[in-house]
């Protein structure tokens, strides 16, 4: 796992490469989540945790709940609380979808994700119009709300409300007047490359 310092207006990005083939059992999930939370806990400003699923061959529902759903649950705090936390899941493949989406939906949550092919995908529970706005933002990377509304042909106020809701759910980031996707945020960070496996960290097996 690696972490980088924040850029001029960007958050610290912690990349957690899950070097385990088998993400199974709640205990394993708890250990992985604890490691990620420790990594971002000490940061004062915003932080983005990037979970890299490229090496994960099997993830079960219990582990998905512990690693992804509970990590996302921890990010949904009041907007007034400083130091927002964001989660981005990368390297998602077809067999990850059922457990991860199942775990998120049980809690009414959603997470920003990127398939192994690089295509953005919003996982979990969300309204269709939120999904449309989120996808368009991913396509553009960073954009003004009015430009996004123009591009989608929707009312700017409605677009603004959807973006605010996506922000409340930590699925997008606001940077002064502009909005950005978490993929854009991660790609702007110099530390978004894969981290080395940490035998003491969440990449290690078991507790």
């Amino acid at each position: 796992m690696t972490a980088t310092a924040p850029g001029a207006d960007g958050p610290a990005v912690a990349v957690a490469s899950l070097y385990q083939e088998f993400l199974v059992t709640r205990q394993t999930g708890r250990a992985v989540r604890d490691g990620i939370e420790r990594l971002i806990a000490g940061r004062r400003g915003e932080a983005l945790a990037v979970l890299d699923f490229r090496d994960v061959a099997v993830i079960d529902f219990s582990c998905a709940d512990e690693v992804v759903a509970k990590l996302v649950l921890g990010t949904e705090v009041e907007p007034t609380v400083p130091g927002a936390r964001f989660v981005l899941v990368r390297g998602v493949r077809e067999h990850h979808l059922d457990p991860v989406e199942g775990a998120l939906r049980r809690r009414g949550l959603a997470v920003a994700a990127e398939r192994a092919t690089g295509e953005p995908i919003l996982l979990g529970e969300f309204a269709p119009e939120s999904g449309t706005v989120w996808l368009e933002l991913c396509r553009r990377g960073r954009v003004l709300a009015t430009d996004l509304a123009d591009g989608l042909g929707i009312d700017p106020d409605a677009c603004g409300r959807i973006l605010e809701d996506l922000l409340r759910r930590r699925l997008v980031r606001r940077c002064k007047e502009t909005w950005e996707s978490l993929m854009f945020t991660a790609s702007c960070s110099t530390g978004s490359d894969r981290g080395e496996p940490d035998p003491e960290g969440p990449t290690s097996k078991g507790e």
Partner: protein
Amino acid sequence: MSRVIDVPEVLDHRGFEELVESLATVAAEDVERILFNAKHVRWVSPYGLIGLLAAGRVARDRTGLAPRIEAPDNREVRSYWERMDFWQAAHQVFDLEPGSTRPHSSSDALLEITPIRSHHDVHAVVERVRERSASILENRLHYPKPSVIQFSVMLSEVCQNIIEHAEADGWVCAQTYNFRERLGREVLMLAVMDVGVGFQGSLASEHARRFGEEWSSATALEAALLFGESRFRDPGRGQGLQAIRRQVGRWDGMLAIRSGDAQIAIVPDWEEYPSLQRGLAEFPGAQILVVMPAREEGAAR
């Protein structure tokens, strides 16, 4: 006073019920030691095999003495028990003669009898079956490639049920065999058992009051399997069994969960089996059976 319990000749999930009924009569008697007479067993399923271990454990708990067991006369059945590592597991349950655990040649089982005591065991089981399940599911049962991962997920969830809820150890095993009589096709049978607190005991603190006098093993099983209830208030809990139910349904398979004096089942068209049974002979813990039939050639994926 000693007591002999005859193990049914066909020891599958139906035979296990006979075994449990025999064992229930023991509880009422003043019995010192039990002998399980398995000499006449001529066929056994994975469910029946770990069911025998569970019955032995219950007998030991009730009498305070490790029961004895007579091995089957039938050479093929004996050989199967050895290949499934029955005697290794039986050492923890029965009063066996020293040296009764014999080494065996390589097994064709998907998963030999494996004790489940911690999440490390679950990891080991999931990792161990990966290669074997790929060959069996794809080549023999004609399942699509993703089913190998889906089976691993199901195996993990069903084994975790023991760790998270049973408050006791358990066993798992899996094997394919030809289900000619009923289906005319091969099936994969997965069996997982424990003799812990059972569904009623596990869910009682959180749900018993809501059900009042209706609260029973049957209502606990329905709450868990059909409505995803768990003993935890956390909404993320209870999804494992729901996921298993969905997956078994997609495979046109059968899922049966026995606990206490009840059994609930998701029954496919090819099987005749009650979807809910009450008033069975009381047996502790949970006993889970999954049957996955081979896909017919050309079946839609």
